[in-house]
């Protein structure tokens, strides 16, 4: 640290003779305020995201509360063996993946479509009102949404009444009791709740596109749909890619509120997800090690998925978040 550069002349130019180490320290000194500012956030990240990983040791023990770490019994991969031998585990894994993938597909295509269509609307007041109305459900809790969905789909609910009135069906259908429809109902209510909110980011990406491109396209004789296809969509491509890769990483952590609140004992074979499984067979019966093993599996698979998706896009679409 003896070569403290006093003025901004030397460090801006990449002097080949300067050693790597020196340049490193110089960089630190130059950006000391920025680094200081980031310290609290790094700490925060460390405390909440890295310290808890220590708890993963529980997955390899037969953990008993109230015993100290050294007194715990180590069991190696026994918890994982039990996990992979459990028939129910594959069932909940299937449900989790199915609902996540459905949610991912619907959660991308529909908001993008919606954002593009909304972008084409010329009337400003209408656009604003439409946007506000569609993103408001995002702020409604799942508890309320589940209540609305259940009563709308009940035997004497709006949907059945409408279908009967239109003579599409003769007997009311008990939607919530049909196990094969459960994934659809979850995805559908997710779309209703989140479309407007997810569209916001795409709308703002669209505003970033250079207006001259559209004018140039018009001059070349491109119609509305041509402009959407050749300018708007490519313009927000990188946003779409980044968001998509990030969501792939969350495939297994899709939450459980929807399934818990919309599910019932009749559809449990299709509604149970990994998180609920961990709750029932891990925490509720005090088998903490087993619960940890499930969540560890969850995290490892999530990271793998994230890297796979990223690698895939890097190779074929030349986009990457890492």
């Amino acid at each position: 640290m003896k070569t403290l550069p006093s003025a901004g002349t030397t460090q801006n130019v990449d002097v080949p003779g300067l050693k790597k180490k020196q340049r490193f320290w110089a960089g630190i000194v130059r950006e000391k305020y920025l680094l200081l500012m980031s310290i609290p956030f790094v700490l925060w990240l460390f405390v909440f995201n890295y310290l808890p990983i220590w708890g993963w040791t529980m997955a390899f023990q037969n953990y008993k509360p109230a015993k100290s770490f050294s007194e715990q019994k180590w069991v190696g991969f026994d918890q994982f063996k039990t996990l992979f031998h459990d028939h129910d585990f594959y069932l909940v894994l299937r449900n989790t993946l199915a609902m996540s993938v459905l949610g991912l597909i619907a959660g991308f295509t529909i908001p993008i479509l919606f954002a593009i269509l909304l972008n084409e609307v010329k009337s400003m007041p209408f656009k604003r009102v439409a946007q506000t109305i569609t993103y408001l459900p995002h702020f409604v809790s799942w508890v309320v949404v589940a209540g609305i969905v259940t009563s709308m789909l009940s035997l004497d609910g709006v949907v059945n009444n409408l279908l009967i009135w239109l003579h599409i069906i003769h007997e009311p259908i008990q939607f919530m009791a049909k196990e094969h429809w459960f994934w659809g109902i979850v995805t559908g209510s997710d779309i209703w709740k989140e479309t407007g909110w997810n569209a916001i980011i795409f709308l703002s990406a669209i505003t970033g596109i250079d207006k001259e491109l559209y004018e140039a396209a018009k001059v070349d004789g491109a119609g509305r749909f041509r402009q959407m296809w050749n300018i708007t969509l490519p313009g927000i491509r990188s946003t779409i890619m980044v968001l998509f890769i990030l969501s792939v990483g969350h495939l297994l952590n899709n939450g459980y509120e929807k399934q818990l609140l919309l599910g019932n004992s009749l559809v449990v074979d299709y509604s149970q997800v990994l998180d609920l499984y961990a709750l029932n067979y891990g925490i509720k019966i005090a088998h903490f090690s087993y619960g940890t093993a499930i969540s560890m599996f969850n995290s490892v698979v999530s990271i793998l998925l994230l890297f796979t998706a990223n690698g895939f896009f890097k190779k074929f679409a030349k986009e990457s978040i890492m």
Partner: protein, 602 residues
């Protein structure tokens, strides 16, 4: 946007520091350390604690703020202010932070304030208590219901045997005939919980279970005999044919609640109730051999489910029964459109209370001991003896002596009367002969506006804190401890209810129930803690998931498919290891009978 850089920086740093420190502290200490208890231990330990003195003194004024001159009476307890944290595994929506009349009186007498937290949602405390065990952070006092085993296995609960012996004369007096029943298990005979979720020597004067029928139905049909499921079905059928709508809504003949654990109360428990078996949770115990097995294996119960299936196919059972959530179920009952329930009064009590508040007394329910056929007797009222969920003190409690003294005070006559009757001059008065009387306006508020009544008076909010005598037991003044005695029960009935009872020549619903059933030797098995380690819990959870899933299928099956679906259900239970689990449970039951009765069971 212009940023004042230093200001921004400092705001950012400050907020992040706040964030960090907010979580760093963990629990902000259960405040029991704030008040230092002034040595009450040394002098009291020598006394042989006779419960003689304090009885019959109900004047609520034991303000002995540590009078030093009064050294003779060594059992007098410390009443300096102290706070205990508490967790209750039952919901307690009317809890008012001890700002109610009873709560204030308790604090005045004992110096104790309770910082209570109760379970939310369906109640039961399962998740919350598991997390307590995992994080090793406990409240001072806990009412853990069925989750005591987890806490004991985690070493969180202190053994109360010595504390009760030294500091709790009143608890000892109440529990004197049931000391064995407080012990945890044959191998671990410590006392971890004092039974509080029921009354000692309770003699029930009223029946609140069975099958329910709305009073308006009974009245219109001229009080028909309702003894078998066939009678019950006929009554519902006849009435709904006459009145297909109620207040413009379609009338619902029969409604069950399939949401979560309430499935047991309204769907699966009635299967053994209607076939003459006593309540042993998910098990049926053979009274001769003590063999335990999931009660679904009983062939009689298949016939009960066949009847439910029939009710569904007849269109009498509400089609939403297994789809709706608990709140929707309660809302339907509160609308007054539901003719029949198969439940317990406490399960739908809030909905019924709102019917009462709305003045729809004829839409409330009467109770009938309905059985599958004449050959069975309803065994709901079989006494399990003293065996209830109880209150425990955890290792987190800094002053267990004060805690046990607090519980003991609540178990004293003064405490019990306060809990059950309220404050003298407010919620009850003494007449010339020294008899406790509840004024009419108070009783009116209690019956018709129960939520607000318990919120402001606190009556009934503290019963789970300490052991207490049940209905029908009299104190030294000749009054009943509780407010449930025949005259009072009848006074609490609405006119519609009285009319219906008169139609059956009965004074209470209990008169319809069979009498003089023998006490169960193995107590209440739902209160028997099972090992949290090993296979048992996993198999049990699996079988419960199967019951949750398959019983609705059984009930909603097509008539011709019923046998097939039911056999599949039983096969699923077999595959999950139910037989093996039954054997493990049998061993536990036998140990329990040994512990409770001293019998040698093979």
């Amino acid at each position: 946007m212009k940023w004042n850089s230093t200001k921004t920086l400092s705001v950012l740093t400050l907020s992040s520091i706040l964030l960090l420190s907010g979580c760093g502290g963990g629990n902000n200490d259960n405040s029991s350390s704030t008040s230092s208890p002034t040595t009450s231990t040394s002098d009291t330990s020598s006394s042989t604690s006779s419960p003689t003195t304090s009885t019959s003194d109900t004047s609520s004024s034991s303000d002995n703020t540590s009078s030093p001159s009064d050294s003779a009476d060594s059992t007098k307890m410390d009443t300096s202010p102290i706070a205990f944290s508490f967790f209750g595994a039952d919901i307690s929506p009317n809890w008012n932070n001890m700002q109610d009349d009873v709560g204030k009186a308790i604090t005045a007498a004992t110096g104790v304030t309770i910082n209570a937290e109760f379970d939310v949602g369906g109640g039961g405390g399962e998740d919350k208590i598991s997390l307590m065990a995992a994080s090793d952070q406990y409240p001072d006092i806990i009412f853990s219901k069925g989750n005591l085993g987890k806490l004991v296995d985690a070493g969180a609960i202190i053994d109360l045997t010595d504390l009760i012996d030294k500091y709790a004369p009143h608890i000892k007096e109440i529990m004197k005939d049931s000391m064995n029943r407080m012990k945890y298990s044959l191998d671990d005979q410590a006392i971890y919980a004092i039974p509080t979720n029921g009354g000692v020597n309770n003699e029930s004067f009223d029946a609140t279970g069975g099958f329910q029928v709305q009073l308006r139905v009974l009245k219109e049909l001229g009080y028909p005999q309702i003894k078998t499921v066939q009678d019950y079905e006929n009554v519902l059928k006849e009435y709904v044919a006459k009145h297909p709508t109620t207040d413009g809504q379609p009338t619902i003949p029969l409604l069950l609640n399939g949401d979560g654990w309430k499935r047991m109360i309204t769907v699966t428990n009635p299967a053994f109730i209607a076939t003459g078996a006593p309540d042993d949770g998910e098990y049926y115990v053979n009274p001769e051999t003590y063999e335990a097995q999931l009660h679904y294996y009983r062939p009689e119960e298949k016939e009960y489910f066949r009847w439910l299936n029939h009710m569904y196919n007849e269109g009498l059972l509400d089609k939403n029964s297994f789809v709706q959530k608990d709140d929707q179920y309660q809302a339907k009952i509160a609308s007054g459109a539901v003719l029949g329930l198969i439940s317990q009064e406490w399960e739908y009590g809030n909905a019924e209370n709102s019917l009462k508040s709305a003045g729809k007394n004829d839409a409330t329910y009467g109770h009938f001991p309905v059985t599958l056929s004449d050959q069975y007797q309803d065994h709901e009222l079989v006494s399990a003896g003293v065996d209830f969920y109880g209150i425990s003190i955890t290792k987190a409690c800094k002053d267990p002596v004060r805690a046990i003294q607090f519980l003991d005070w609540l178990a004293s006559d003064e405490g019990q009367v306060l809990n059950n009757w309220g404050v003298e001059g407010k919620q009850y008065t003494l007449d010339a002969s020294g008899k406790r009387v509840i004024p009419d306006d108070v009783n009116n508020a209690k019956v018709n506006d129960n939520a607000n009544f318990s919120k402001s008076t606190g009556i009934g909010l503290y019963t789970a804190f300490a052991p207490h005598y049940g209905d029908g037991v009299k104190d030294s003044t000749g009054n009943y401890y509780t407010t449930n005695f025949p005259e009072q029960i009848i006074a609490s009935y609405s006119d519609a209810e009285k009319e219906a009872l008169a139609g059956y020549n009965a004074t209470t619903w209990k008169d319809l129930w069979p009498k003089d059933l023998p006490v169960k030797e193995w107590g209440a098995l739902y209160n028997m803690q099972v090992p949290t380690d090993g296979e048992y819990q996993v198999i049990y959870t699996k079988t419960q998931a199967i019951v949750d899933k398959d019983v609705p299928k059984v009930v909603l099956a097509k008539t011709e498919d019923f046998d097939k679906v039911y056999d599949e259900f039983i096969a699923d239970l077999d595959n999950a290891g139910a037989k093996k689990m039954g054997e493990m449970y049998t061993a536990l039951v036998k140990n329990r009978v040994k512990l409770f009765t001293g019998k040698d069971v093979q």
